[in-house]
């Protein structure tokens, strides 16, 4: 994985750049000490590390605007960062770049129950929003597993999902408005407290743009009333194929569960050994299906799900009868990653999405790959929406194992694309999957996406080296050869 070659000319001007930043953000808002910079050297994808040239921590939108404008004028790259929980290296610093930390934007600005929305600064955590509205029985729906730490600004950048997103949507489906700053310092407002925005759906393309288009300085999200009740059913199957069929049958019956998770045998065993959730150990696949909503609905549907499971050959089924029991069902799933961490020195978490019907094939091929690479794999799966999280087990201290784990991971993601799926369902491309983009998209597809980038950031200074495998100059991408009169009149139906 190669990052853009650092510009030694920029690094040589470090002192000048730092003093320009200090003129905008005074005092401790500009960090240059190596020991302090160390805190920013990586995000959740810890295999890649790089000290930034300098860190700047603005606290107002005007400062963000000035920082970006100044960096643009000086030709300096900028990497935006929220809480740094990205699992794909979206906030990996650059040796010749300014790291722009948004941590000081940590206030909720307006809680508006009448319009069912919250206006907040981007550095507020995902869970912080839900906590701020919980006293009235509301919450913010997307719930990435890092929700205690990850910020809403980072969620916008990554279009974060979570366990409940099949029913309640990803970040993009829950954002109403944004204030953002472009690389040239322009401050823009998009959307607001109303449902539709005017003009192009720029909010749609900014959400999930991994910090390449602009820096978000204010967010308006919609909040929902908490479901009155939730119950879960734990269902075990002798084969993962039957578990997959059960998921399909539940959806075919018109049921969209609040959560629907699948674990394979290695994941079940690791989780059970760790938290003793009471999972059955003699099944090949385990489903957790959670129904939420009005009590009458949940009671009705939990019965139907149990019936469907029996019809699909379930060999184990347990319906939660109390809130404690429901939470215990989830305890194992939620601890699956650390549980796998106990049985292996290191693990590498993948994030492809597949059409669900391809699950048996994908699991079988993954087993073959596991044998080929000589590394074990455990699977947890957002079964409702086909989002796989294979956990590849390896030992970074054994020479070559990290590289083999990465190769194994790449093979899995190529397989996801091959069966009609995609490289990433919720973790983002970042640096991690950047070089696989050509497997999912043709050159022409990627060039069109890069031209969108040019509309926002023509010099390519904002978070370069992420998402796109090859960097092109905007002038080159914009070139258009038109040969007037050379094309014959198109030979297509006309009237």
């Amino acid at each position: 994985m190669k990052m853009p070659v650092p510009d030694s000319g920029v690094i040589a001007r470090r002192r000048e750049i730092v003093s320009a930043l200090r003129a905008i953000v005074p005092g401790e808002g500009v960090i240059v000490d190596e020991s302090e910079l160390r805190a920013y050297e990586c995000d959740g994808l810890t295999a890649y590390r790089q000290l930034p040239m300098v860190v700047v921590l603005p606290s107002t939108v005007e400062q963000v605007s000035q920082v970006l404008k100044t960096c643009k004028e000086m030709g300096v790259k900028v990497v935006p960062r929220g809480a740094g929980t990205s699992l794909s290296g979206g906030a990996l610093p650059l040796a010749d770049g300014v790291l722009l930390g948004m941590g000081k934007f940590n206030r909720i600005l307006d809680i508006d129950f009448a319009n069912r929305c919250v206006v907040t600064q981007p550095g507020v955590t995902n869970l912080g929003i839900s906590n701020a509205v919980a006293h009235e029985g509301f919450y913010y729906a997307p719930d990435p597993s890092s929700q205690i730490a990850c910020t809403i600004g980072g969620n916008i950048a990554e279009n974060s999902g979570g366990v409940h997103c099949l029913k309640y949507g990803l970040t993009t489906n829950n954002v109403l408005g944004l204030e953002m700053v472009l690389m040239d310092g322009t401050i823009l407002r998009l959307g607001g407290k109303q449902l539709d925005q005017g003009g192009y759906d720029l909010m749609g393309v900014i959400t999930g743009s991994e910090g390449l288009l602009g820096v978000v300085t204010e967010v308006t999200v919609r909040i929902l009333r908490k479901p009155a009740t939730a119950r879960a059913v734990l269902i075990g199957f002798p084969t993962s194929e039957q578990a997959g069929n059960c998921v399909a049958a539940i959806i075919a019956a018109g049921i969209i569960p609040g959560g629907m998770e699948m674990m394979d045998k290695p994941a079940i065993h690791a989780a059970e050994d760790f938290v003793h959730a009471g999972y059955p150990l003699d099944v090949e696949a385990l489903l957790i299906v959670e129904l939420d909503g009005p009590a009458a609905e949940v009671d009705h549907l939990i019965e139907r799900v149990a019936e469907i499971a029996n019809a699909e050959g379930a060999c184990y089924s347990r319906v939660s009868t109390s809130e404690e029991e429901r939470l215990s069902f989830w305890a194992g799933r939620k601890a699956a990653f650390p549980a796998v961490g106990r049985i292996s020195p290191d693990y590498y978490c993948m994030d492809g999405t597949i059409p669900r019907k391809a699950l048996p094939l994908v699991l079988q091929r993954m087993q073959e790959m596991s044998d080929k690479h000589g590394l074990r794999v455990a699977n947890v799966f957002h079964a409702g929406d086909g989002n796989l999280h294979p956990l590849i087990l390896y030992d970074a201290n054994k020479p070559g194992e990290l590289e083999r784990a990465e190769e194994f991971g790449n093979d899995i993601l190529r397989l996801c694309v091959e069966v009609g799926g995609v490289l990433t369902g919720e973790h983002g491309v970042g640096v991690e999957k950047r070089d696989l983009m050509n497997d999912q998209f043709d050159q022409v597809d990627l060039e069109q996406q890069q031209r969108i980038k040019c509309a926002f950031d023509p010099e390519g200074l904002l978070n370069p080296g992420k998402v796109f495998p090859t960097l092109h100059r905007c002038a080159e991408l914009g070139r258009l050869h038109v040969h007037k009169g050379e094309l014959r009149f198109p030979d297509i139906p006309r009237f």
Binding site: R189, G199, D201, L202, V205, R225, A296, H382, T424, A455
Partner: protein, 403 residues
């Protein structure tokens, strides 16, 4: 105006037409069946790119919750196909045929996405944008490209399909669209509150939306609009009618209807057939289909501001109006010349936005049909347009001059 219409049957043919237009410097009016052609600024092109020949469902997999179809596939084909498997497009796409004085059922899937239209369920299920998973289309360089994917959960690369929603063909001539489909509700009931004024009605709708009963429709029809309903229980109220829809599984709907009826003090409950009928009227704005001379505005505002905005509109023009989306969507039918053409938009004062959905061609040529954007936003929109269509070949000016 149009001299020649190209009607490609494949994406490659569509690309060929765009490359020809590019080489001649001739802009194209990009259309499907043209059912919403009068929505937007009038086009002045000599050539039309008609995408209705790109017709056919490519893949429908109910259990994957995904449907892929050629962009010109009629909604009249797609909707019954979904209905047969008890599924739907949850954003409740509008059919504006009647409003535009045309037959109903003429639209295409590509047109629904390109116009970004959604019905009453917008409040709970989102809009067309929220259900667009993937696209294939021809950009203004004459290249066939794809964006997004064909699975329900995907964050790989930029979310290009969202950018297509509400772009009115100005960025890409869509050739194929993949959408998320969802189960259709087993049952539908509607609570009716009679005789509430706008403020009391929106207050009741707000309480309904704040409740845990999963409301999927929240509308208020002032007396004059309610009287035009084809549903007797609505028209016969002889007063304003406030409507709250509850959908889902039978036992769940029954329980929620009982609880919310009590909480809101509702006067009546519409059963399934009446419910379906009245929400279809609201979705398609049929109350304003007659009186063809009236200009129709669509206002999207913060829901709680709805009554205030409505009152300001009534102060400056002679208008009929009704509310959907819990007060956040106001449909306004204005008597022409009863105020300046922009009076409706000006009452918003920057909070929310207004679209002139129906007006004669000369009015649409001179007034801003879509909400004017702030200068920096307009500049960015122009650059985004250029990134897809550098020579302004695809429906230039349909949304904004220079875009």
């Amino acid at each position: 105006m149009t001299e020649t219409t190209f009607k490609p049957e494949t994406a490659a043919q569509a690309a060929e037409a765009v490359r020809w237009a590019l080489s001649e410097g001739e802009p194209l009016d990009v259309v499907g069946t043209g059912s919403k052609r009068t929505l937007g600024r009038p086009m002045q092109t000599a050539y039309t790119l008609d995408l209705s020949g790109l017709n056919g469902v490519v893949a429908y997999e109910p259990e994957e919750l995904v449907l892929t179809a050629k962009a010109g596939t009629p909604m009249a084909v797609i909707l019954p196909m979904l209905e047969e498997r008890r599924q739907q497009l949850a954003f409740e796409p509008q059919d504006l045929g009647a409003l535009f004085g045309q037959p109903a059922g003429q639209g295409t899937l590509g047109g629904v996405l390109a116009c970004g239209l959604a019905g009453p369920r917008r409040i709970s299920a989102g809009s067309a944008r929220d259900h667009a998973l993937g696209i294939e289309g021809v950009n203004g360089r004459g290249e066939v490209y794809k964006g997004g994917g064909k699975v329900v959960k995907n964050v790989t690369g930029y979310d290009v399909p969202k950018l297509m929603a509400g772009s009115f063909g100005t960025l890409t001539a869509l050739t194929e669209v993949t959408v998320k489909v969802l189960p259709a509700p087993e049952d539908t009931r509607t609570l009716v509150l009679a005789g509430r004024d706008d403020a009391a009605a929106v207050e009741a709708l707000t309480r309904a939306m704040q409740s845990p009963y999963e409301v999927s429709g929240a509308a208020h029809l002032p007396a004059g609009v309610a009287a035009r309903s084809g549903v007797r229980a609505v028209a016969g109220a002889g007063a304003a009618v406030t409507l709250v829809r509850l959908e889902g599984f039978g036992p769940s709907v029954a329980a929620r209807v009982a609880a919310l009826k009590e909480e809101l003090g509702a006067d009546a409950v519409l059963e399934r057939d009446d419910s379906l009928a009245v929400w279809k009227e609201i979705r398609d704005v049929t109350a304003f289909a007659g009186e063809r001379e009236r200009h129709i505005w669509k206002l999207s505002v913060p829901p709680a501001d709805g009554p205030k905005v409505a009152s300001a509109i009534r102060d400056v023009t002679d208008a009929d109006l009704f509310f959907d989306w819990g007060g956040g969507l106001i449909w306004v039918a204005v008597v022409p010349n009863s105020g300046s053409s922009d009076a409706v938009r000006r009452v918003l004062n920057g909070s929310g936005h207004a679209t002139l959905v129906r007006a004669p061609e000369d009015v649409r040529a001179s007034a801003d049909v879509f909400q004017p954007l702030s200068e920096p936003l307009m500049a960015l929109s122009r650059r985004v347009k250029e990134s897809f269509d550098p020579r302004g070949i695809l429906s230039p000016g349909r949304m904004y001059a220079g875009v």
